[in-house]
Homo-oligomer: 525 residues x 2
């Protein structure tokens, strides 16, 4: 597999493979991370111990939840984070002005052996303000990680969330296929989308490369061009019915190639007058040979109406020709679908069993970016707060612990952040959960279960045990279970209830002490 | 350079390097291209000569033009299109049902030596319906190319167009920097955006990997975290003015590291009460040492107002301290900018010299996908037309030639498509240009200049001369010149005039003959 891990394999003794995309190297960062590294180094500050939180401020797509994804790729980057000589010389040429020789030597030494990464498990349902990753280490090194880690988490979480939202609308019983490769934002916009849509609850992809890299099930049959590449002399048409005979020839060819997996695209000419009758003719012929046809795909027109009409014909054939099970012939739909069209189809009623979803899913058309940020919360054991006139942009200072508290019905109730050294919230204890910025918003919670969210995925020089990276299918299962643990009103499409994110009373007091201390007193003029 | 061309280098005797992203392989395609290849092969149709057109139906972003990009990567894929043994066995496992041994052998033979690719030059301004690429060859092979080629062209052209639109609003005199890496759709969503934004008229990127891969100029200084990583004891503050002393310390450190390139982010605490005065203090000190400060960056607040106030201070310093040129100190702005905010800033008046643009640019937030399609227009010398109830979705049949006709002011007037064997339109001749689908829309044009749009970029077994792939800077220059040749009303933001795309009288007649022939006669019930 050329595209996987070839960077890692260049370096003997690495703990794990490199990122899926070999273009993910320490150079996949903003230039200012290197100019700052030089400035830190010149000031003798580069080894100051810094703690950064990666979090987002607002859930995407007008919803009240997000699926966290991208962690595995981040850890693979961190595990293999080492600059080559050629990269170092490129960096030094690229810095504005000349830099001292000693900085080259410093860059040669840099790796993530002294960096610690705590993260929420991939596939977990997450909320604004709670750190998804906490990265600690020498300030210059952790800053270099900022950009690639944001890049790897932002789109992964966005598209996994989009997929989960499509799954919630489609319902559990439908098959969902990701068909976005041709419209995705570049080659690994596509490959990433295939991976993270699978995590978010899709069943398969059309993307062969993603199938090979990640073991995701593959699906696909034929296109309109296949049908129209068959030509049938008009003079022969008279002896057949009214259907398009070129289409019939295409279906027969396809069925000969895949007799056990005959699935026909039926809208090249006319769904009800040609495609469906031609499909049925071939399906019945296959049946005589001992094969069972899979079904049809609709790629245009009124999907609610056409799927219903096709279903009626399948039922009629089951009854009139005595073909048991024919009424259940699978119907796939695939024409520019998105959350809204799935919702509209549900409201109209439809007979579709399987949806193929492309453009709107993989490009996250409804909102093309997630705004994760990476903020300094502590340096040299000194807490740092980033103020802003916009309260939603004020950062929550300090190295923190984060917990999810569950109620008696098994639903999660609230997330709470505490200072690093505060005692862990206990089951059955009454805990005051405060809104981080709003004095009046607070609630007591008596949790039935307490889950610590941040786990150690990269221990650096600490003696923590490194959490293993789970297999893709386990991440997907975790995501599906996570969504089942959410109270339905938090995840519904229309006017979802915001999930509460809180801080401990002690952290609340500390935030506001710092805030007052740092904020300039305004002067009205 | 690990990430570039390592696939190509595995294969001796290749004409050119492989695609920038080594994940771009023949497997980066939809599974149905392989199922169809098998069905074509089973039917003995796989070598039938097919012609496909790649085109889009609607310009993005509500505009009336598109910048074509992605060609170089397509040609690099085509030049290196060869399946490995491991890929072949993966494909055969992935097909639904078992496939015959002979198909493996067929897959082993497949390459693009018998494929011809005609394309419009990369960086050209293009319009709906006109083929950007025409790909001819054995139908099974050309179908395999469909998905990767669409993937490589769709996002490239979308983001190049987005960049060109930002350049048009910003004006020629402003410096435009692409800062989107952290929010892009995955690693090469970012790397691709850097490349294609440069083609579309940006001046530089923050993305170090893109700088190394493509030689794009790099820019970047420091972040808020750099400023807030400096702490200054409050007890010392009294002896300085009202500015934040931690910020001053950070600026001094940065200036010591890059005395010739001091550019300070001035909004960590308070732009006018702290950031700008601190910048000026450091800039004046640098001046005493013989260095000239570059400028400031604003990343929040009212950019029109703040840039104006900062400019006033710079002018005052120039006058009162007698510092020639200080009034021209550069001001960069970079807070969630997009076409609309640039336009609003222009209307308000501002003093910004340079814009750093991220999320909205690289993710094409206003429209996250371009809808290029790849349609069969001819097979075995038989023209094919794809009908649709939606006229805009009817394809233009036949292997075609495409020309751009220019008027006396040097502006391009109209694009015209003709049949392959029609004579080329001549300068000074009166040419009837017809709308392809609307009988009443037609116009005579007497061109001052005629340009053939489709050039041979991959000659296959024909004796055509292969067009060289130009250097990135040449593509960028071409794009800039192209936009200058457009009549301003076609490219303006508000209510742009649609550019005319036409067919010859002969092709018009032929389209409508085919259409009538293929379309079923409806029955009203």
């Amino acid at each position: 597999m050329e595209a996987k891990g070839n960077r890692a394999s260049e370096k003997a003794g690495r703990v794990m493979d490199g990122p899926t995309n070999p273009m993910v190297t320490p150079l996949l960062t903003d230039l200012y991370q290197f100019t700052m590294a030089y400035a830190y180094w010149k000031a003798g500050k580069h080894n100051e111990r810094a703690v950064f939180d990666l979090y987002f401020r607002k859930n995407p797509f007008g919803g009240e939840f997000t699926v966290f994804a991208g962690l595995e790729e981040c850890i693979k980057l961190i595990a293999n984070f080492k600059l080559t000589e050629e990269e170092i010389s490129f960096i030094c040429q690229s810095l504005p002005g000349s830099c001292e020789e000693g900085f080259f030597n410093y860059l040669r030494e840099i790796d993530c052996s002294d960096v610690e990464v705590y993260a929420i498990s991939e596939g977990t349902v997450v909320f604004p303000k709670v750190p998804l990753l906490r990265v600690e280490g020498p300030v210059a090194v952790v800053q270099l990680l900022e950009t690639p880690v944001l890049n790897l988490v932002n789109f992964a979480s966005l598209v996994a969330t989009n997929a989960a939202r499509h799954r919630l609308v489609a319902g559990k019983s439908k098959m969902l296929l990701e068909f976005g490769l041709r419209r995705a934002q570049g080659p690994d916009g596509a490959i990433g989308a295939s991976k993270y849509c699978y995590i978010g609850g899709f069943d398969a992809t059309s993307n062969v490369a993603a199938g090979r890299l990640f073991g995701i099930p593959l699906r696909g049959t034929h296109s309109h061009a296949f049908v129209s590449s068959f030509t049938w002399s008009k003079s022969l048409s008279g002896i057949f019915g009214e259907t398009n005979q070129s289409e019939l020839a295409a279906f027969m060819s396809y069925a000969l190639a895949f007799p056990s997996n005959f699935l026909a695209l039926v809208d090249t000419y006319d769904v009800m007058r040609s495609g469906v009758p031609n499909f049925c003719a071939v399906a019945l012929a296959l049946r005589d040979l001992g094969y069972k046809a899979v079904g049809i795909r609709l790629d245009s027109g009124d999907l609610a109406y056409l799927s219903g009409e096709a279903r009626k014909i399948f039922h009629t054939i089951e009854k009139e020709f005595g073909v048991p099970g024919f009424g259940k012939t699978s119907i796939t739909a695939s024409n520019d679908l998105n959350e809204e069209t799935l919702d509209a189809l549900n409201k109209q009623g439809h007979e579709v069993d399987c949806f193929g979803i492309g453009t709107y899913l993989v490009t996250c058309y409804a909102q093309a970016a997630l705004g994760c940020v990476f903020k300094l919360v502590e340096i040299n054991n000194q807490p740092r707060i980033k103020l802003s006139e916009d309260v939603s942009k004020v950062s929550i200072p300090c190295k923190k612990r984060c917990y999810r508290l569950y109620g008696k019905e098994g639903y999660s109730l609230v997330d709470i952040m505490t200072g690093e050294n505060e005692p862990c919230p206990k089951v059955g204890e009454r805990i005051l959960c405060r809104h981080p910025f709003s004095e009046s918003k607070r609630a007591y919670v008596v949790p039935k279960r307490v889950e610590e969210l941040l786990k150690c995925y990269w221990p650096g020089k600490s003696d923590k045990v490194r959490e293993e990276l789970p297999a893709l299918d386990d991440i997907r299962d975790h995501c599906i279970k996570q969504l089942e643990q959410m109270r339905p009103d938090h995840i519904r499409r229309l006017n979802p209830t915001p999930y509460k994110v809180s801080v401990s009373a002690k952290l609340y007091d500390f935030i506001h002490f710092l805030w007052l201390n740092e904020a300039p007193v305004g002067e009205l003029q």
